[in-house]
Amino acid sequence: MTAAIEFRDVRRVFGAIVAVNRVSFAIEPGEFFSMLGPSGSGKTTCLRLIAGFELPDGGEVRLDGIDVSATPPYDRNVNTVFQDYALFPHMSVLDNVTYGLRVRRVPAAECRRQGEEMLALVKLEDTGARRPAQLSGGQKQRVALARALVNRPKVLLLDEPLGALDLKLREEMQLELRSLQRRLGITFVYVTHDQGEALSMSDRVAVFNSGRIEQLDSPQSLYNRPRTAFVARFVGGANVIDGHYAVRAEHIAVADAGAPVPAGAMRVAGTILDTQYHGAVRRWQVRTDDDQLITATRPEGDAAPAGREPGTRVALIWARASQIPLTAD
């Protein structure tokens, strides 16, 4: 099967900054594909390269097997949901949604029918006559989605679409986007810096760091088998110890300095730097005697000593089996 999107050795340079550094990957049709990374890691530039807002300085971008490296956005069968929604403020909601049809000269009655159908799909039936300024953030988000989907794109690009929404709405929209994607069978390419969002929604995730993909894997593999220190820290929030292996914070116990070491366990001595209450868990930052920072979390109310103050000497203990070797660097 031809890949929906394929990058072959793509480069994009802005002045002295290499935003995308010889990146290659392929996205399968119908996949929910996330590009995860901190800001400036190249994920948004990759999205813009797919949309056609950026053209590559080297390599090839292919859509459905066809090289589109020099094709302008208006000749590509992909649509984008923008981070700031980018709704046209001088048009009604319905005119926004039907914009893509109208510029292709679809008859007015047909535009209206399809526009209303799309508004119904995103549960905004009665807002067609309103202006974008009269909508809430979540409603604008849905209009942006309807405006993109009305064109029946083969690929939908989403650039941190939920970033501006509050937590509860964000979680609702995550579920809704995922079920919409399953129902429509469209390839989704989702850019986010929120690892939880990427893990919970995606079939596969590409983790970006300084213009390159560090690891491209299923969410489970990224979390359980990070290959680099960057992925271990960024995706799993794991501790990287001696640069060679990762240990998840929830696998580390905080014990008295003189506690015995169980069989098959590792033990490191250190001093508590800080401790925070997070509701379900308590989190400790410990500086080890060989000067590494390690974070440990334990369920609140666990037998672990909750009252320990910063400055207390402790021992950090974890099972050898919970160590994840970092193979790539």
């Binding site: 056609g52 046209f88 914009y99 893509g100 064109n151």
Partner: protein, 314 residues
């Protein structure tokens, strides 16, 4: 430590005043509003009202004094005498032509300044557009008269290039031509456009600066070609700026009396009539009636622009 304590005990009087106003934010706003309101309310609106009132008086033809009785005689004189009506039409046509050409010329420049230029290039363009405004208006008008004169640099350049035939053909064109560029409506038009172009460029650039780049990207993303994006997104969102700029160019052209008297054909313009009627002719009511014309025309223009949706994006 002791200084800290004494500060807390006895705050500075200015600080007390600041706190007083900080706790009553609207009071400060209204107090600061008083001087400009007095200025606008009395000086500006007052004189405007006096002007309007004058236009409803008439002059006694024998004694040449103003009769302070409300009458429409002056307006009748304005709209029934063909010479006066000609002046209104001539000035309005010039103002419309200047506004349209200034807008068409200003848009690409403003678009470049707002959307493409960065850093020093951008600063250069903004300064370059405003620089002519730092020079005396009269100096510029007389400079243009010399540039456009029969023996001036423009005709010299054209004849050096062997293009004087074109200039002569243009000058023979009825309506815009004349004996030389400096004594033709075309020459006057060139000077008007030059003079008012910055007033068109800056509001359009300001409007375009406020259009997020993502809107243009979204339009292209949804399948619109660059020209569709221009007509459906860029221009509608820049229209408030075009409207603001055209109010400047339109009203400045309607009211100007120096450019038509220094450069251009002999026909009178509204500004010249106002200047002459309230000066040498001493007919202040007619001068006032002529002054009302631009105000009414601008009002009509704004109403039309509003109906055309120029302010929908605001």
């Amino acid at each position: 430590m002791t200084t800290c304590d004494s500060n807390l005990a006895a705050p500075h009087p200015l600080r007390t005043a600041s706190t007083f106003f900080y706790r009553r934010p609207s009071l400060a706003v209204y107090l600061l509003l008083v001087p400009p309101l007095l200025w606008f309310g009395t000086v500006y609106l007052g004189s405007l009202f006096a002007l309007l009132a004058q236009s409803f008086y008439a002059i006694d033809e024998y004694t040449a004094t103003i009769v302070r009785r409300v009458t429409l005689a002056t307006y009748a004189q304005l709209f029934t005498q063909p010479a006066n009506l000609d002046i209104v039409l001539r000035t309005t046509q010039m103002a419309i032509a200047v506004t349209i050409v200034a807008a068409v010329m200003a848009f690409p420049l403003a678009n470049f300044m707002a959307r493409h230029a960065r850093g020093r290039v951008k600063a250069f363009f903004y300064v370059a557009v405003m620089l002519p405004m730092w020079t005396s208006y009269l100096v510029k008008v007389y400079a243009w008269r010399l540039i456009l004169a029969k023996e001036g640099i423009l005709s010299w350049c054209l004849s050096a290039l062997g293009l004087d035939g074109i200039l002569e053909a243009v000058l023979r064109t009825p309506g815009i031509g004349g004996p030389s560029l400096s004594s033709s409506y075309l020459g006057m038009f060139i000077v008007f456009v030059y003079m008012w172009l910055p007033f068109m460029v800056l509001p359009i650039a300001a409007a375009l600066e406020r259009v997020p780049a993502s809107l243009l990207a979204a339009s292209a993303d949804l399948g619109a070609t660059p020209s569709q994006t221009f007509w459906r997104v860029t221009l509608p969102l820049a229209l408030p700026g075009v409207a603001a700029g055209s109010i400047f160019t339109f009203s400045l052209t309607l009211g100007d009396y120096i450019i038509p008297s220094v450069v251009g054909a002999p026909g009178y313009f509204i500004g010249m009539m106002v200047y002459q009627q309230q000066g040498t002719a001493g007919n202040i009511p007619l001068a006032a009636a002529f002054s009302v014309v631009p105000i009414v025309l601008i009002g009509i223009y704004l109403a039309l622009a509003r109906r055309a949706g120029a302010f929908d994006a605001l």
